[in-house]
Amino acid sequence: MDTFMLIGITGIGLGALYFLVASGLSLIYGLMGVLNFAHGSFLTVGAFVGLWFSTQVVHVSNTWTFIAAMIVGGLASGLFALIVERVVITRLYERHIDQALVTVGISLVVGAVLAGWFGNDLRLLPTPPWFINTVSIGSAHIPVDRFLYIAVALILLIANTALLRYSRIGLVIRAGVENRQMVAALGINVRLAFSAVFFLGGFAAGIGGVLVSAYSNGVSPLIAGTYLIYGFIVVVIGGMGSVPGSFLAAMVIGVIKQYANYYSPGLGDFVVVFLLAGVLLLRPQGLLGKVKP
């Protein structure tokens, strides 16, 4: 029972990291139909900027430094995403193959530049001393960092939901998901909303980059690879453009993967792909996605 609980909470923590990657992907694809394979590089940039902030700007490893590293990493990533959108993506709307090629190219370039600069070895990201602590639930000892990942994902989910539901930009984004042309025909610069979505997606990925680095015990240019693939799987299973759907899917995938790997090491990836195939066959719009007319 203790192991069951430990694996379950670890799975939710892992799902929280997947969600941080997937939430931006979901919005970017849902609103703009942009297949953004550069999203992993947003995560990597966030991780490296967080590392730079923690080691070069602030030399103290405590809670505030870590929170600041998350915010700085998120902002840097958001800014990078905004630049990518303004300079490259804005010229490629409706050109899906070109988007895929260019964003894969950006991802490769960012990875190569960082690898050339820092090497591919893991660089330790300073974390607060309490990161190694555990919390006892029953007789299970749960690493405390898992709760941080879950808390950050929940905050992001609530902030995203509130932004989409109660703000003017959220209204524009929701309308834009349905019908971009009509939003423009109402006199609204829907491209500004696109840029905002890219920034928000990059911001979440940047925060995710810092947390993934903490989870993986270090930062490397290769850190985003698996998470990006899982991000896409989460988006498809959750439903394109549905942030709550992404959250639900991320949690389900994180937990199932952890349990599968525990009972049969290496089985996790297979089970997740099987789940993906099942959703695509039985509910192609995803768990909480809407069928487009």
């Binding site: 929701r174 998901v177 939003v183 025909a185 829907v190």
Partner: protein
């Protein structure tokens, strides 16, 4: 004075030359109806004016060129649009649909006018627009175009697919608006055109083939020749 002036407008879509030198003007404070058989380019004309299709030629709103401008800039210049298929935002509530379209929330006079035109929408303000009937959705689409003070309203087949009772309601609403709004109306419903239009333009195969008074619509033979419908029934 003309509110809208379109000169030598050409639109090509996938190698098809849809509009072939369309030229017309819409006088201010009047309703101009754009008529013609299905597929002659009426809706394309409206979309080209709004920048939804790339076009060549000249489009001017109150003397200001709109050519090459992005759609949202054209709309901000004062063009409201009610599309043929309504294109309301189904997942948003009625209130959100109207709020989204509102460029100046302090313009209470416009909001009050919309509320008076479509009182049913007030009572359904919290309802998702996608769950409304076709007629109610059309009201949302028209209300959305009226919540701002615009120079001209482009309205594409507002009575299409509506039950007769709803056609009357929509026609009444447009009749009330017609007095104070410049309107370019695409419509197959000739009684509505006769009721509110002061000018008619007939298109055929991407060209303007007639411009003049709606009086011609009372001539059944003319209607049959120009529009391919029976004037007596439509």
């Amino acid at each position: 004075m003309n509110t809208l002036s379109v000169k030598d407008l050409h639109v090509k879509i996938n190698e098809s030359h849809i509009l072939q030198g369309v030229t017309f003007e819409v006088p201010e404070h009047s309703v101009t109806a754009l008529l013609g058989r299905n597929g002659v380019g009426k809706s394309t004309t409206l979309k080209a004016i709004l920048g939804l299709y790339p076009s060549e030629g000249s489009i001017e709103l109150n003397g200001q060129s709109l050519s090459g401008k992005l759609t949202y800039k054209i709309a901000q210049a004062g063009i409201a649009y009610v599309p043929e298929d309504r294109e309301i935002f189904a997942s948003l509530t009625v209130r959100e649909n109207l709020l989204l379209a509102t460029r100046n929330e302090s313009n209470l006079q416009r909001q009050q006018m919309v509320n008076e035109l479509f009182p049913e929408l007030v009572s359904r303000s919290a309802q998702r627009a996608g769950t409304l009937s076709g007629g109610q959705q059309q009201m949302v689409a028209i209300a959305r175009a009226l919540v701002n003070k615009n120079e001209i309203l482009l309205i594409d087949e507002p009575t299409k697919g509506l039950a007769p009772k709803l056609v009357t309601e929509v026609a009444d609403a447009l009749g009330r608006v017609a007095g104070e709004t410049t309107m370019l109306l695409v419509e197959q419903n000739l009684p509505l055109v006769k009721r509110i239009a002061q000018h008619i333009i007939v298109m055929d195969q991407g060209r303007i083939v007639f411009q003049g008074s709606p009086e011609f619509l009372h001539d059944g033979e003319w209607v049959h020749t120009m529009l391919g419908v029976s004037g007596g029934h439509k």
